[in-house]
Symmetry: C2
Subunit: 244 residues, 2 copies
């Protein structure tokens, strides 16, 4: 059997996240239907991780095992003609039999987009968090340093999913200011449920003076969800890279 | 009575264009409903021109006469809280009583976005024309020169609307290449129904070798719609400036 690795891009606005659910449209569900249309096979696609409803991916990695003989170079075109146009297959390639898009991933990069302009942007309503007020980016940068390294991030996760450990390592956390737009880029070995959105919400609280950058180390160490900021809304979040 | 001038931005994807129609969602209809919610007045808003279904505006000018005393500086916030989030009021100001957003306009600028990459972009599916193949931009630029100046553009319009004259003046037509993206920017004193989309479709035919740049003057002079290219799809088109 062949193992095919796919690189996908999707606008999550219309979906209840990546993972197949009963009675809800998901990216995985749409992809499995498209593959069935092409190969006739009812199969399960493995994804590099879950994304929440409304969250996007610029580079999502998935893989599946197939008996089909369709060439990897033709597959993206075939898939795109069967997928809705908010999900695009950018690339397909033959992978080693052992390749598993979730278990083999050693890290991920996410980008969160914030707009501090007084007026929202009609074209970016599904792709950024409209915060309305200027944020103190220097303080946000100072606070961001506390996240770097290996920590128990239980205070920066939402309950509802069982995980073996809540310890994760963050390698990079960059805050990029471009006029009234603020981008938060974070690279880590893995992320808990809602972790990037809670980090973002907490940094926005720092930027608006609701949380002091001086307290960030303590807040992380406390493991207390109530001391962190709000969960930033899903539409500003993009998965941008998966590392193997 | 006060005359209020509004600057709007809208994503036209979900609308049957600007102008109010029976049984169809339009931008003008949404705006008039929002104004009624705020002022209690049932009134007609004047727009700077029609846009087709699926066409967008980065800067659309409208005006309306009102008895309301709401301050112009507060009005955008009030409107935005009553408008769907794909229509945004950027600015409101008091205008001279004689100001008429359509009759006083002396020119408009439109932008058309084309993507020549082999794969579509999931995030820009509603904001560009995915042409799939590289285009000869030098030939498109050569052909574009024939449009500059005052011409009878009857061959570059769709029938179905009565106009006094089909003569229009184009002041500028710039073709900007940015990697595999091509932007067509056109400034004129006015545009016939579908005129920018037909000019774009014709320039794309030149770029793909279906029409010779050498024939462009003749094609314009012929007034024959069948000699021009196809009507480019609506989603790549943005009204970006209105001149008074």
């Amino acid at each position: 059997m062949r193992n095919i690795r796919l690189t996908l891009q999707y606008d999550g606005s219309a979906y209840h996240g990546w993972q197949v659910q009963n009675d809800a449209e998901t990216v995985q569900g749409k992809l499995e239907t498209a593959i069935k249309d092409i190969t006739g096979e009812t199969l399960r696609v493995t994804g590099c991780g879950r994304t929440d409803a409304g969250v996007h991916a610029r580079k999502y990695i998935a893989n599946f095992h197939t008996h089909s003989s369709i060439s990897a170079s033709r597959l993206p075109y075939a898939l795109n003609s069967h997928l809705p146009n908010d999900i695009v297959c950018i690339e397909a390639e033959e992978a080693e039999n052992e390749f598993h898009s979730k278990n083999c991933a050693v890290g991920k990069k996410y980008l969160y987009q914030i707009n501090c302009a007084p007026m929202p942007d009609a074209f970016l309503r599904n792709y950024e968090w409209h915060c309305r007020y200027p944020l103190n980016v220097d303080e946000m940068r100072r606070a961001s340093k506390a996240f770097i390294g290996t920590h128990d991030f239980i205070g920066f996760s939402s309950s509802g999913r069982t995980v073996k450990t809540t310890v994760r390592t963050i390698y990079e956390l960059n805050i990029i200011q471009n006029g009234l737009k603020i981008l938060i880029e974070v690279v880590g070995n893995g992320f808990l449920y809602n972790m990037v959105r809670i980090i973002t919400g907490t940094l926005v609280f720092v930027g608006s003076g609701k949380i002091s950058a001086d307290d960030m180390e303590q807040i992380i160490a406390s493991g207390d969800r109530t001391r962190a900021g709000i969960t930033a809304p899903p539409q500003g979040l993009f998965l941008t890279e998966v590392y193997y």
